[in-house]
């Protein structure tokens, strides 16, 4: 297994486990799974909090820097949000729907 594969597999597993715990708790689901091994502890107590502390931009750059299909040529996503329709003025309860 290459370094990037190792990183992806573990980060995905532990970030997901952390999110499941939070979203589970919010929905009244008890989530078991205390860290059992030293490896569990490293990923749960060091990697996950560090990842969450990183600013969004830095996190995205790090993910983008990893080798993978996202680094090859792909059609660009549609602009977000879409440009407003020229004929329709929507007033979502006093808020401009698109910033």
């Amino acid at each position: 297994m290459s370094f990037t594969q190792w990183l992806r597999t573990n980060s995905q597993q532990y970030l997901l486990a952390d999110a499941q715990q939070r979203i589970g708790r919010k929905n009244g689901v008890t989530v078991y799974g205390k860290p059992r091994t030293l490896k569990d502890r490293f990923w749960r107590y060091i990697f996950v909090p560090t990842y969450k502390m990183l600013p969004n931009g830095l996190r995205e750059s790090l993910i983008h820097a990893m080798p993978g299909s996202h680094r090859r040529a792909w059609p660009k996503a549609s602009p977000r949000p879409r440009p407003p329709h020229p004929f329709v003025k929507i007033n979502g309860q006093g808020q401009a729907p698109r910033k």
Binding site: I23, K52, L54, R72, R80, P81, I90, P97, R98
Partner: protein, 442 residues
């Protein structure tokens, strides 16, 4: 021109057919390790569950039809290696075979749980239709089964086994079924349905070994021993990319083959498609692997068209999915709350409970829709749905909405069909969008 395709699944056959559509004079050779091509593996759980009476119904075309189309399929034939410099593959029993263009469509395997006793009889990985035929008669003798991890295919198998009157125990280190893709509130009706049907579930537990004398008779877990004659492997899909790796073709962090929008790999004249590849997610850009048969088929067609000399681009994916889970239909698009939280994506969510037909119309079913929007742009970034019907159509529609950059305000003011027998006055998607708007104001 000689086009060689390695793989006879949705991606491989999609590639072969589409390439011949572009260049009918191309010499087209497909290699598969299986006895058949062009059957729908997706139907296997439903034959096991006896909703479909025969495996024969799952075949889409006969071997002769492929021959007549000009596709030369080599069955039960393994490609052993690829020399991308010499444009040659080495085929078991055939030696070296030259290609002008090569399409890799080698698919996926269940992640190997790597457990003691893994070679006992009675451990079933649902995939190949001929093996499924054999297992089907075995199922008649089974009283008790363990499902080892509960991915999407495993969920369908739980339903099938219940229909066969088999006692089922699900053992999964995750906290709920399909916890890698679905939120707990959305899967809750499925869990309740399983409990009612007598399915035992052990969440947060792991299978540690298989036991028996040549044949499985029990499964050891972190919660104790379970007597069972059958174990269904339901672990996550991993790419079958060993052939590509050995040939020096670039793989990504998922282990899938790296491709661009034309499905070109890092090697000249080599394309790849289906579950052996990784494809960027449309919202996050993070590459994903192990999508679905419909993705594999569409990617195969893209690879085939490009290999044959025309141009087609595949798009980043938003992954609409939907399936039957017990008495419920469940599905989603792009992110749920769990997956959005996992990647650290900010979102505002809103959920609405609605109905699928007019409240007085026979057969009306409940449906729950949850939408997630990006707090800055207010664009839809994901959805999760569970209901008695109408889940697939909503998932497909919402996938287009995410892809097009539709905002939650567009959805809150959407028009909808009201017709008592097929749709309620209040569209649950619109109601969920209103709930998101409300949560934005909090």
């Amino acid at each position: 021109m000689k086009i060689v395709v390695i793989g006879g699944g949705a991606a491989g056959l999609g590639a072969a057919g589409a390439a011949l559509g572009v260049d009918p004079s191309a010499e087209m050779v497909v290699y598969t390790q299986f006895e058949d091509v062009a059957y729908s593996p997706c139907g296997i759980p439903f034959v096991h569950g006896k909703e479909i009476e025969s495996f024969d119904r799952l075949f889409l075309a006969t071997k002769q039809q492929y021959k007549d189309q000009g596709i030369d399929v080599h069955y039960e034939t393994t490609v052993e290696s690829i020399d991308t410099k010499r444009h040659v593959i080495k085929v078991q029993g055939e030696g070296e075979v030259r290609y002008d263009k090569l399409v890799l469509a080698t698919g996926w395997n269940y992640r190997d749980p790597n457990l003691p006793g893994g070679d006992l009889k009675g451990i079933y990985r649902v995939k190949n239709i001929q093996r499924a035929r054999e297992w089907d008669s075995f199922l008649d003798t089974v009283k008790s089964a363990v499902v080892v991890e509960c991915g999407l295919i495993a969920v369908e198998m739980v339903t099938a086994l219940v229909h066969r009157g088999i006692k089922v125990t699900v053992v999964d280190p995750g906290p709920w079924p399909m916890a890698e893709v679905v939120d707990p509130d959305i899967v809750d009706p499925v869990r309740a349905g399983w409990a009612e049907a007598g399915v035992t579930t052990l969440w947060g537990e792991q299978v540690t070994a298989f036991g028996g004398n040549g044949t499985l008779s029990y499964v050891e877990t972190t919660a104790g021993r379970i007597e069972a004659e059958l174990a269904i492997i339901g672990t996550r899909k991993v790419p079958n990319s060993d052939l590509a790796r050995a040939a020096g073709i670039a793989l990504g962090g998922t282990g899938g083959i790296v491709v661009d929008a034309r499905m070109q790999t890092s090697a000249p004249d080599v394309y790849a498609a289906g579950d052996c590849t990784e494809i960027p997610h449309g919202v996050s850009g993070v590459p994903l692997q192990g999508l679905s048969g419909s993705h594999a088929y569409a990617q195969g067609k893209t690879a085939g068209i490009n290999a044959a000399g025309a141009v087609r681009e595949y798009q980043p994916v938003y992954v609409p999915w939907a399936m039957l889970a017990g008495e419920w239909m469940i599905g989603g698009v792009s992110f749920g709350e769990t997956t959005a939280s996992a990647v650290g994506m900010n979102y505002v969510a809103g959920t609405a409970k609605g109905i699928t037909r007019a409240r007085y119309y026979p057969g009306v079913k409940p449906i729950t829709v949850k939408l997630l929007a990006d707090p800055d742009s207010r664009c839809l970034i994901g959805a999760q749905i569970v209901g008695g019907e109408g889940v697939k159509e909503r998932a497909d529609f919402l996938a287009v909405a995410v892809r097009a950059g539709i905002t939650i305000d567009d959805l809150a003011t959407m028009e909808n069909v009201y017709s008592p027998a097929i749709g309620a006055l209040n569209e649950p998607i619109q109601m969920a969008a209103l709930a998101v708007q409300q949560n934005f104001r909090r």
